[in-house]
Subunit: 198 residues, 2 copies
Amino acid sequence: MTITKSAVTAVPVHELIAERWSPRAFNSHAVSQDQIHALLEAARWAPSSYNLQPWRFIVWNRDDNADTFDKVYATLSSSNKAWVANVPVLIGVFADRRGVDGQENGAAAYDTGAAAFSLVLQAQALGLHAHQLGGFNRSELQREFAIPDDIVVQALIAVGYQGDEALLRDDLRAKEQAARSRRSLNEIAFTGQWGHAF
Amino acid sequence: MTITKSAVTAVPVHELIAERWSPRAFNSHAVSQDQIHALLEAARWAPSSYNLQPWRFIVWNRDDNADTFDKVYATLSSSNKAWVANVPVLIGVFADRRGVDGQENGAAAYDTGAAAFSLVLQAQALGLHAHQLGGFNRSELQREFAIPDDIVVQALIAVGYQGDEALLRDDLRAKEQAARSRRSLNEIAFTGQWGHAF
């Protein structure tokens, strides 16, 4: 069986946002090139400061090239290796830090986070799931794939179809079954002044 | 009349993503507290590294408190002042840089960008428009509202209903009527290796 985890909200939010979550149980069904294309298009149309579009992506598709996929897989933390073992596609997310007139783009990470989230929501729209992860060796990835110095490695996104959580390692299955949790709204949202709860 | 600007994509993407854009023509119709609540809930449920949820928001609602709204407005660049003059709500976006065990959260800006984009898409879902802007005096805002040192000012988001672009200043109306543009996909998306176009 597969788990669904709709966000518990005091007022309704759009289903694409409410239903999105980050599973660890994936099966190995392939993701098509058209689907990946749609994910990248969704990212491409995100907004950015001065329309600089600092986001860059590398697609590693196990079906397409198992060798390069394995090189990325090798950079993962052992905990991530356990659940990514089945995942068919990993997408590297990078931010170009070069801004206008040779200055640093101060919004590079912020805007790239938006583009990656757009990609994740498009996965949700296609019946796929996407799970962003930071637990990997960034410098190893940067070296292994000759990522230029001006480019910051931000995250990896695992993309595929949700699988059976019964097949997960025990500790990961416990996480999979736990309820989604967030800080209460009054911790993160204020009115008029810093600290005045919304 | 109001302008629509659907993204031109080679493969379909979800309408919430395709139809979103950042207008400058807003009217002064009020945004309800329930609508603002939904925007914040959408942001709240974004994903984040270690579920740290670094995003923070301050809502400045002109209808609610014109004085504090005006203080934010005063920090805007003159070009932004011109079109924000009608906007009923500004939302400040902040990132808490504190991570685990006293370390810096390296994903704070990236994750906050995702949460802000979730907010923007929820505005789209409610028939509102949201336009993020970086052209304001960050240090003035930080001082005026006593934002703590651990908190990074990321952006402001103008939220309201789309207005008549005929009322915009000439240079801004030209921007409003221009087609949306993005880098081509092969500039931002690679397969397997850095620089190998998708």
